[in-house]
């Protein structure tokens, strides 16, 4: 059993980060991120053609993280957008064979928002269905119920958006994911701690762990980008005002992240830091929130 899973199941407050595989074969920049983030994190998400833009596969990149993380584990991401059910199952078997134990299953952004807008979005399965299939593989069968020559034992996660309204529909959807096999959730950026607390309370009876997303709102430009381009996220005015009004926007963004981490410390089961390239900020956030 992996360290990330152990820690979360034991009730330890976990810290996860995120690295992006390269647009090409040179993964030295990703390794540099791994080097900076791994001392502070239990696990690092390895994104899968994020934003529907071409990157080295999460499978290969996760293996690189596994080998270079000094015990900080990769969370292999699988999006349903790019593969049909054969490819998805095949990649999951490959992932387990390569020693990857954590998987985050997401539906994926629509290709028309990415760098290959003419691509056919596959979406043969949605994230809930893929969670169910992964659960079956953990029990030793493929999605048809045919026994596998060697099962998997993935620690399975899903994405959750605790601030989306209508909340009852989000909640129902999240519970559906738990039913399908999700053991932990990583959430989109939390900007309203009360809404996050509402989610934790709602999922309490299921035993699913909620890792709160903390996004570094590092500059007015990034805030504009998030508001205009990132699906399902609006930066609240209080954050925009503080970052835009600040002399050093990055410092202010880090201060906000620290405040959020402190507030979330007693509510969440962990935090997922998305530094948007400012990897050095992660150490400052963790130290500032006294999570180190």
């Amino acid at each position: 059993m992996g360290k990330f899973r152990d820690a979360l199941v034991r009730g330890e407050f976990v810290i996860t980060g995120e690295v992006a595989p390269p647009h090409g074969t040179d993964y030295s920049a990703m390794l540099e991120s791994v080097r900076k983030l791994s001392p502070f994190c239990h696990a690092l998400n390895v994104t899968d053609n994020q934003g529907a833009t071409l990157h080295l596969s999460s499978l290969a990149a996760s293996r690189v993280v596994l080998e270079n993380g000094n015990g900080c584990e990769p969370i292999f991401q699988q999006t349903c957008r790019d593969r049909n059910r054969l490819a998805l199952q095949s990649d999951l078997l490959a992932a387990w064979t390569l020693g990857l134990e954590n998987v985050l299953v997401v539906t994926g952004d629509d290709p028309r928002g990415g760098d290959h807008p003419k691509a056919k979005g596959v979406f043969d399965m949605d994230s809930t269905q893929l969670l169910q299939v992964t659960k079956g593989m953990n029990e030793g069968v493929d999605m048809n119920g045919t026994p596998l020559d060697g099962a998997t034992d993935f620690f399975m996660g899903g994405a959750l958006f605790p601030e989306a309204e209508p909340w009852d529909i989000q909640l129902e959807r999240g519970l559906q994911k738990v039913e399908a096999g999700a053991e932990f959730f990583q959430t989109q950026a939390v900007t309203d701690v009360d809404k996050f607390a509402r989610a934790v309370e709602a999922f309490e009876p299921t035993g699913a762990k909620l890792i709160a997303g903390i996004l570094l709102f590092k500059s007015p430009r990034v805030i504009k980008f998030i508001n205009e381009r990132l699906a399902g996220l609006m930066v609240p005015d209080w954050i925009t005002d503080r970052v835009t009004g600040a002399e050093k926007p990055l410092d202010e963004a880090i201060a906000i992240a620290i405040e959020q981490a402190i507030q979330l410390k007693d509510i969440a089961h962990g935090i997922h830091i998305m530094p948007l390239g400012s990897d050095d900020a992660v150490a400052r956030i963790i130290e500032g929130a006294e999570l180190g």
Partner: protein, 237 residues
């Protein structure tokens, strides 16, 4: 109905140039393409004027009653034999099914004049919406009569996805999320989403589809095509 859109004029011109055509016969469709204002009598006249302006001669035209209907098209082509014979090419302003029916009936290079876009609901005059993709394994029983395969841009059976914001869709941001609609209507009907909808059975849709009610009625085994029983799944059998 099948909703069609005008095809890029340059592609049509390139097609005609490829075979060095000088004269064209134009065929339209009295059903869908007429309703869609893409291939009725009026649009044929526009195409004719356009071709003539480009130096082509138009030998004649016809609007098939239903251009995807082989019998009717064969009859039309016989009626217009001389005009068709006089043309170097036939341009068809109908959906792709109609183009193929005409291509079967004439011994001339036949070109599509339109793009077949989707199976459309006529919301009101001139307003068409795609509500069904004819997936062959309908889930409307579970989704309160709202099709997620078609009206969710990602075609997700279970949703909403993580991008839904204030009930709106992440991809088409001016529309309500299909899954929000579904769950609301289910709730209004006192129903709920029961469990997870299983991955679709795409095998039932594997083409080419073929239905032969005549042979079945006569107790004959229909000639085999790629799908002997396109609309029967093993579950039903």
């Amino acid at each position: 109905m099948i909703v069609t859109k005008p095809r890029d004029w340059n592609r049509i011109k390139a097609n005609l140039a490829e075979i060095d055509a000088k004269s064209v016969f134009i065929m339209g469709c009295g059903e869908c393409a007429t309703v869609a204002h893409t291939g009725g009598q009026a649009e044929i006249m526009v195409a004719k004027a356009r071709l003539e302006a480009e130096g082509y001669s138009v030998t004649g035209s016809a609007v098939g009653a239903v251009t995807c209907h082989s019998g009717g098209v064969n009859l039309d082509m016989r009626k217009h034999r001389a005009e068709v014979d006089a043309a170097d090419a036939v341009l068809v302003l109908s959906c792709g099914a109609g183009v193929q029916t005409v291509a079967d009936a004439v011994k001339k290079p036949t070109y599509p004049g339109l793009e077949s876009a989707f199976l459309g609901n006529v919301v009101r005059h001139g307003v068409f919406e795609e509500r069904c993709q004819m997936c062959g394994d309908c889930v409307l029983d579970k989704t309160a009569g709202i099709c997620p395969v078609t009206t969710c841009p990602k075609g997700l059976l279970n949703g909403p996805c993580g991008g839904m914001w204030n009930g709106m869709c992440e991809v088409l941001t001016d529309r309500e999320c299909a899954h929000v609609k579904i769950r609301r209507r289910l709730a209004e009907q006192g129903r709920g989403m029961k469990g997870v909808i299983a991955p679709k059975d795409y095998s039932v849709k594997r083409g080419p589809g073929s239905v032969n009610t005549r042979d079945a009625a006569l107790g004959r085994k229909p000639a085999s095509t790629a799908t002997d029983k396109p609309f029967t799944t093993e579950k039903d059998a």
